[in-house]
Amino acid sequence: MPNLKEIKSRITSVKSTIQITSAMKMVSAAKLKKAQDAIIQLRPYSNKLTEIMSSVSSASEDSSKNKYSEVREVSKILLVPITSNRGLCGGFNANIIKKTIEIEKELNSRSELTILSIGKKSSEFFKKNKYNVHSTHDDVFQDVNYEDVSKIAELILNDFANEKFDKVILVYNQFKNAATQIVMQEDFLPLNKTQSENSQEAVDYIYEPGKDEILNELIPKSLKTQLFKAILDSNASEHGARMTAMHKATDNATELKNELTLSYNKARQAAITGEILEIVGGAEALNG
């Protein structure tokens, strides 16, 4: 039977663990709400952008000659894993790293691979394992905003246009709901032409200065928005994953605390019984 004091100190430590994990859960829940709102806020912008883009490109005959939609033979690939800066969120970061390595194995030896990591967890991993790291961008998650993300996107777009890379793939956690994240592998560049659904009623627009110039403005904007969305998704997923992980941790710790309390009470009971037996024994020895 372990001694009482030992159990008591373990109970205290488990109790403080519960306090920490449940506090972290609350914080994540609040941050998740904010991150989800940001995703919703982006929606009108991205919808409108897609709408304008499809109506402009359906009116323009050769929308395929854009430098971002140029399909080249793939020999240099840029992978963009998006993780978080902090841990304690279950398999959130491990899943992304696993997926990135999986993609690498698929491509192996046929093409040269470079990593541009967003989020400290993947940056650390890929640097430590001597991958060819292009650059790391860990600051975006301190305060997620469009401006910072669009700088990263510009960097990628320029490198693609200068033929430093022939293909760019994003790997991130897509936000489904607070408890579910889907690991997504998304082709970022070259731009695939999913538009040209002429469901739109053809509006006879005046184009100022011209269709091509407008498309040249719109395409980078839409790519930036795509990256921004991926980062917002990842951000919301991170908080969702942490909330779930902390919820589980709280549950487990509570269970452990109950078990420890039970064995503490049993040990106390045994100690009292032992004491009574000693007293009774002692009294009987005196009487006898």
């Binding site: 912008y45 509006v203 627009y205 200065p209 407008i214």
Partner: protein, 78 residues
Amino acid sequence: MDIEIISPEEIIFKGNAKSVKLPGESGGFEILNNHAAIVSNLKKGVIIVKDENNSEHKFEINSGVVEMKTNTISILAN
């Protein structure tokens, strides 16, 4: 006419307007009620929205795109 100014982070302005002055890529221009359908690039500058009470609302943008269709203006700004 209805106008909405949207950025990736929020809806900046939504409402009714008499006229909108825009920093077009090849020079500033103004859109009045019932303007023909137009799509145009915008450069860094100030959007001035004049509402029905003739009061002006100013918004600074770095770049953007404006679309006017069926008397509704949508401005994508960042």
